[in-house]
Symmetry: C2
Subunit: 199 residues, 2 copies
């Protein structure tokens, strides 16, 4: 083909991004080369700084370049509530929703015995450690509503109950804006079982 | 929001890529940080090298880090045919098609008087210079099949005819795999006018 070596190398590297196939990578490379070299250099710089500089918050284990992340060090947040999630992306999603003002703790995924991922691998001991001597009175288990996420939530709930901490699970039900006829049976069953009285 | 400064900077820089919105940029940043830091660093390196190293071939004006690109320096190609295109992406597209074995010349877009893009701006003098004393016997005008591309092709054809060079235009007609009922009238009219005898 007719790409010069540097262009070929750029297209190959762009294909490492999620959702980017050969055509898209080619279009991205061309767009940067023809119209936005400054943007390309800015992206190179941002990538290098982030890949080398971003680690994990030592308190909540989300992605952060600071030893303690902004969310953990914000004095205005509620120390009594701890939301347990499966990944940093979930922290971002809950923050975007804007209604939660407590603290977070991020597991490394979910329990998956066949993949060799037990409690130690996903960071359960660190969660217990985080709770020891803390002001947390309620742990909200917000792992994914999947079989593995449920199993992980139940396992952790079993561990925390003896510690005298209130343990809750995010509600399952019909998502806002959905149409009932297109919602799966499992979700509908949960929505019915979890119904609330209209006062 | 809950992104640390380096992550925010990375997401902003990724949004400079064509077709990448805020959600996609966030997913890309997270994917690199959580699963592929080596890939992220490789991309940073590839971007920097390409943005700083890739220029234009002095002969055909396509993107290339070499003074003369691979296509222009390949001795096996036909020097008598010159295909004139609007952008480096078009060179790649024609090369992918695999049937053309001549040389290329890349204009900087098309004529657009309202945007101040005249013959000088799109590189017509360089095309004339490229042809002087060359072995080219036919110029194939492969600008886009748009109003501006047609106008550009006709303008260049008018300039080249007095030089005694054969000037051709790529065929307009029905694209392969299309269904006639969905093809626009202009294209169908061209396809009928340009019909060829079946021998």
């Amino acid at each position: 083909m007719s790409f010069s070596p540097l262009i070929r190398q750029l297209i190959d590297a762009l294909r490492g991004l999620p959702g980017v196939g050969p055509k898209t990578a080619q279009r991205m490379a061309l767009s940067l080369l023809e119209r936005d070299r400054q943007g390309g250099l800015r992206l190179a710089e941002a990538l290098q700084q982030a890949m080398e500089g971003v680690g994990y918050c030592s308190r909540c284990r989300t992605l952060s370049e600071a030893e303690i992340c902004e969310l953990c060090s914000d004095p205005r947040r509620d120390d009594s509530l701890l939301c347990v999630l499966q990944s940093p992306a979930d922290v971002w999603a809950v923050e975007m929703a804007g209604s939660f003002r407590g603290r977070y703790f991020v597991l490394k995924g979910h329990l998956s015995p066949i993949d060799g991922l037990g409690p130690d691998e996903i960071g359960v001991p660190a969660l217990i450690e985080r709770l020891e001597g803390s002001a947390v009175t309620e742990v909200i288990l917000a792992t994914n509503p999947t079989v593995e996420g449920e199993a992980t939530a139940h396992y952790i709930a079993g561990l925390l109950r003896p510690l005298g901490i209130r343990v809750s699970r995010i509600a399952h039900g019909v998502p806002l804006g959905g149409e009932l006829e297109f919602i799966d049976g499992g979700t509908l069953a949960h929505a019915l079982a979890g119904r609330t009285l209209i006062s």
